[in-house]
């Protein structure tokens, strides 16, 4: 645990942008897609991907078979955005390659044979893409990816055909949410080939005001065009969020909410996941606006991950029920926000 993880510090435009992700979907030619694979074929794919990193050479990745991972750790991995919920549901015949800082991970046997993923703190599309395409090139010379000159990378779901690339940016948009213009924003970005969705909770006001915006179209657009398109939209959203925050800043009601939320987080003895997300959001905005100075964005980004149900159980080393987790969550938050 000595190695710092990518999410433990905030990055560029960290007041609004939590993280950046690039994901590449790749499949091996002449094999059924994972949904139809036999146990032997799943094993074969894992062997091929593990084999791409020779045993006698230093390897950037830790190689893990998901069936060996305890359930609580699977959940913690979902919370750290390393694996998808679907991947965690049935870990048999699945594997994960992961770097020490968890910034690069490769899911083997998810919806596609491979999902290469790079995570970065803050707004960092270019470097995330550079790293992803590098590992893609490395694997491309060692595995036979299914590719067609007309349709690009051939993926299980036709929505990923072409580049197979999904670029996503996780945003904290409390002021835009407060103003009630996310719905309108969602309609606008969908016309530009992008999609925006709440990260936690359903409905128009997701807990924590955390949103993920990603490119939707992957065929007939280059990776660079998709990234540039996403970047220019995200830049506009950042400007808009900041200007809305400035408008909120001087209202006594807003100031009250920031400090009231902080007060509860610093003193509560029980915190559900939802309540934590609802309260941490105004506190994060308060920190970004310089209203609170005894914690910082780095600490809050870590806390967003560490207060998850899976993370709490992983830290405890045992399964916990909801009531036990609420006690531990409140204790963790009190300690971090002291």
């Amino acid at each position: 645990m000595a190695q710092e993880k990518w999410y433990q510090r905030s990055g560029a435009e960290g007041d609004v942008v939590i993280s950046t992700r690039i994901r590449l979907a790749r499949d091996l030619a002449h094999l059924p897609f994972p949904a139809w694979m036999t146990a032997e074929q799943r094993e074969d794919v894992i062997t091929q991907v593990f084999g791409a990193f020779p045993n006698d050479q230093p390897c950037a990745f830790e190689r893990r078979r998901m069936s060996d991972v305890p359930a609580r750790e699977l959940l913690a991995m979902v919370e750290r955005h390393l694996i998808s919920r679907e991947f965690a549901r049935d870990p048999s015949g699945e594997a994960l390659l992961i770097t020490a800082d968890e910034g690069v991970s490769i899911m083997v046997g998810e919806e596609d044979h491979l999902r290469i993923q790079v995570l970065r703190s803050g707004f960092d599309l270019d470097s995330a893409w550079q790293e992803a395409t590098c590992w893609d090139d490395y694997l491309d010379t060692r595995l036979h990816f299914a590719f067609d000159e007309r349709l690009g990378y051939l993926t299980q779901c036709p929505t990923n055909l072409g580049t197979g690339m999904r670029a996503s940016v996780m945003l904290h948009l409390p002021a835009l949410q407060e103003k009630g213009i996310i719905q309108q924003l969602s309609v606008t970005v969908s016309k530009l080939g992008l999609t925006i969705r709440g990260l936690y909770g359903e409905g128009s006001k997701p807990e924590g005001a955390l949103y993920q915006i990603s490119n939707q179209v992957t065929l007939g657009i280059t990776e660079q065009e998709a990234i540039d398109n996403l970047r220019s939209i995200v830049n506009q959203i950042i400007r808009e969020e900041r200007s809305c925050r400035e408008q909120l800043k001087d209202s006594p009601a807003f100031e009250d909410r920031v400090f009231r939320s902080l007060g509860i987080l610093q003193n509560a003895r029980l915190l559900t996941g939802n309540e934590f997300m609802t309260l941490i959001s105004p506190v994060r905005m308060g920190v970004a606006l310089g209203m609170i100075d005894h914690t910082d964005l780095n600490a809050l980004n870590s806390l967003l991950i560490d207060a998850g149900a899976g993370a709490l159980m992983e830290a405890a080393g045992e399964e916990l029920d909801a009531a036990q987790r609420d006690v531990r969550r409140a204790a963790l938050v009190r300690e971090r926000l002291r």
Binding site: F147, E149, R150, L151, G152, L154, L161, V217, G220, E223
Partner: protein, 163 residues
Amino acid sequence: MLCDHCGKYAATTHVKKTVNGKTTELHLCAHCAAQQGIGTNFGFDLGDFWGSLFAEPAKRTQEDTVRCPDCGRSFREIADQGRPGCSTCYLTFYDRLLPSIQRIHGKTQHTGKVAAQADGTVKKERELQALRDKLNACIAEQDYETCAQLRDQIRALEQEGEA
């Protein structure tokens, strides 16, 4: 396939129109498609994709003898299961899947990164296209010296591999 409209560039957008039961196909290059406002809206709907597979009753009866050489599925089985069995399905049933793929992405020609084992014709075609675009610009600017150089480069690239 060349563009039906200008006849100069490769057709990358394929539109099917059915009027009074008569279906006509239009193949356009990216430029002409954009001019006609086709393929510029990026909206997609997954239900739409698979829905369209089911909505081809006339085609379902025919060609069901064709099967994917890798996974053995017929087009009908893919439609019934709601997803392809393997990557080769896309190549086997390319023509029948293309309208649905276009509905999702608005486009049908990959323009991104090219995998290592691709045979290189796409890379070459893109280089040629870039040179032809430059040539067009030079002609417009009456820069005939550069034109001659570009023409030589294009000819050399075209002849490459033919010998």
